[in-house]
């Protein structure tokens, strides 16, 4: 354990590299687990477990230079 910020950042970079190099099956299983956890946390907070209670604002993919969403 160290409170040296540079070491902490280096450790985080190393962890991210390690995660990136894992197989895609394992990485997608992690996404499944992350979403399940998010749903559980949301249900615990609101009492609702609707799968769409948690969703992101749609990405405003652009046609040319303008956003496709208002």
């Amino acid at each position: 354990m160290s409170f040296d910020l540079q070491k902490i950042l280096a450790g985080k970079r190393a962890l991210r590299r390690d995660l990136a190099q894992r197989g895609i099956v394992e990485k997608l299983q992690m996404l499944d687990a992350l979403r399940e956890r998010a749903l559980m946390l949301n249900a615990a907070g609101s009492g609702v477990s609707n799968s769409l209670e948690l969703r992101e604002t749609p990405t405003p993919y652009r046609a040319g230079g303008k956003s496709t969403l208002s």
Partner: protein, 175 residues
């Protein structure tokens, strides 16, 4: 909750001729190239088939196909295997190119069509929200971009100025 089931069903939908081709974008697409990128939904870009006699493209055949196989419509999403999936048409030349040049990556025995790292990075630059810029930085820091290929995409799609601004903002040491 199983994202591989989503990919399997979309492959089957393509084989059955409902869509011409697809490409996984967004955070799930990025996860194929980077560390897992937490997300709440799946962005699938599709080339829609035109219905006979119609000038408009419609996602209705996709919705019909998926709901007949257990999918559930909720707003603009189809919930498959616990994941809200959004089907998106290519919204401009950059996404059209990303869809045309998507690569096949095997997930176990299941093939998945995924946008290249360079296209995902260019789309993140074009969209330009804070989280998109963070994702672009992830691609750069992970060394996952073929520089020549990425630069060529930026030039083709008029993103050079946006890239220079991004470089100035995030990749240069403070004066």
């Amino acid at each position: 909750m199983n994202i591989v089931e989503v990919i399997t069903l979309i492959n089957r939908m393509q084989a059955d001729g409902v869509i011409e081709r697809y490409g996984i974008g967004g955070a799930v697409g990025a996860t194929f190239h980077l560390e897992p990128v937490a997300t709440l939904d799946v962005d699938i870009f599709v080339a829609f088939r035109r219905e006979a006699g119609s000038l408009l493209v419609s996602p209705q055949p996709i919705f019909d196909y998926l709901t007949a196989r257990g999918g559930r419509l909720e707003g603009e999403y189809v919930v498959i295997a616990g994941w809200p999936v959004q089907f998106l048409p290519p919204t401009g030349p950059l996404v059209e190119e990303a869809l045309a040049e998507a690569v096949t990556i095997l997930v176990g025995d299941t093939p998945a069509r995924v946008f290249t790292a360079e296209h995902l990075a260019a789309i993140a630059l074009q969209v330009g929200r804070a989280k998109d810029k963070a994702r672009l930085l992830q691609f750069i820091e992970a060394g996952r971009l073929d520089s020549a290929r990425f630069q060529a995409i930026l030039i083709r799609h008029g993103l050079t100025a946006a890239w220079q601004k991004f470089e100035q903002q995030f990749l240069r040491d403070a004066p």
